[in-house]
């Protein structure tokens, strides 16, 4: 349909960035993973006898506990980075603020994921 675009529109070069499908699919794939993982995650934590150091350590130190934690937090942090990116793109039009928030979103997600990963592995090892 490019023939219908005005010369000004073509010169500005705005429009599809041609990378949206990947984002869309990644959001859905991580959503499907979370539909399975979140119930397991919630069930595991709800069944803790209490939130004491010993009980919490014992949960994360168990293979099932460590695996569910690793899988859930990996899928969740990935999914929420994609989700918040859409929210930022929807509501923040100012280019510098938008780019800044998108960077912060990515850095927070990466930092959270590595912190969770490291913590779980330290406890489970």
């Amino acid at each position: 349909m490019s023939g219908l675009r005005t010369p000004l529109s073509r010169a500005k070069g705005l429009g599809s960035a041609r990378t949206g499908s990947g984002h869309f699919i990644a959001q859905r794939v991580s959503a499907v993973a979370l539909v399975i993982l979140i119930p397991a995650f919630v069930w595991m934590i709800a069944r803790l006898p209490d939130l004491s150091y010993e009980a919490a350590r014992a949960l994360i130190a168990s293979p099932a506990g460590a695996l569910v934690m690793l899988l859930t937090l990996t899928a969740a942090i990935y999914h929420m980075r994609l989700g918040l990116q859409v929210v930022i793109e929807d509501y923040i039009p100012a280019p510098v603020t938008r780019a800044g928030l998108l960077i912060v979103n990515t850095l927070i997600a990466a930092g959270l994921w590595l912190t969770a990963l490291y913590s779980i592995l330290v406890i489970a090892a």
Binding site: A31, L48, A56
Partner: protein, 132 residues
């Protein structure tokens, strides 16, 4: 020129009322952002747990003190937000398959998802007797 009354009016921003579908759509975004904060708290909890009994002792102290009720309320809110986002998320996946676009059914499902999220969250907290 006088406006032709048979032509459709463009939507007017200030004239609207709440719809179940609209509320559920907005709640999906808000719960998504709340879950982001929840993930930060879960990660902080894991980091404290990995750091050792002294660091984790701060959490145990808070949970034994007067602020515990606030933490539990926040955790209850996080559970509600998580379960709501999960249920409504399944609906988003159904939409991606082209299912569930009828107006009456959409309204009903919006209301059922709100009720379901509250019921399931209540059930989880009853199950989690040790944490209350």
């Amino acid at each position: 020129m006088a406006p032709n009354p048979s032509r459709p009016l463009s939507p007017h921003v200030s004239i609207w009322r709440w719809h179940a579908t609209m509320a559920s759509s907005i709640a999906h975004r808000i719960s998504g952002m709340a879950n982001y904060i929840g993930a930060v708290l879960i990660t902080a909890w894991l980091a404290a747990l990995a750091a050792g009994p002294e660091t984790y002792g701060v959490i145990e102290e808070v949970m034994a003190g007067p602020l515990a009720i606030l933490v539990k309320l926040a955790l209850f809110g996080f559970t509600l937000s998580l379960i709501y986002h999960l249920l409504n998320g399944v609906r988003h996946l159904a939409w991606d398959l082209g299912l569930g676009f009828d107006p009456e059914g959409s309204n009903l499902r919006s209301i059922l998802i709100f009720i379901g999220a509250i019921v399931i969250t209540g059930a989880i907290w009853l199950l989690a007797g040790g944490l209350i």
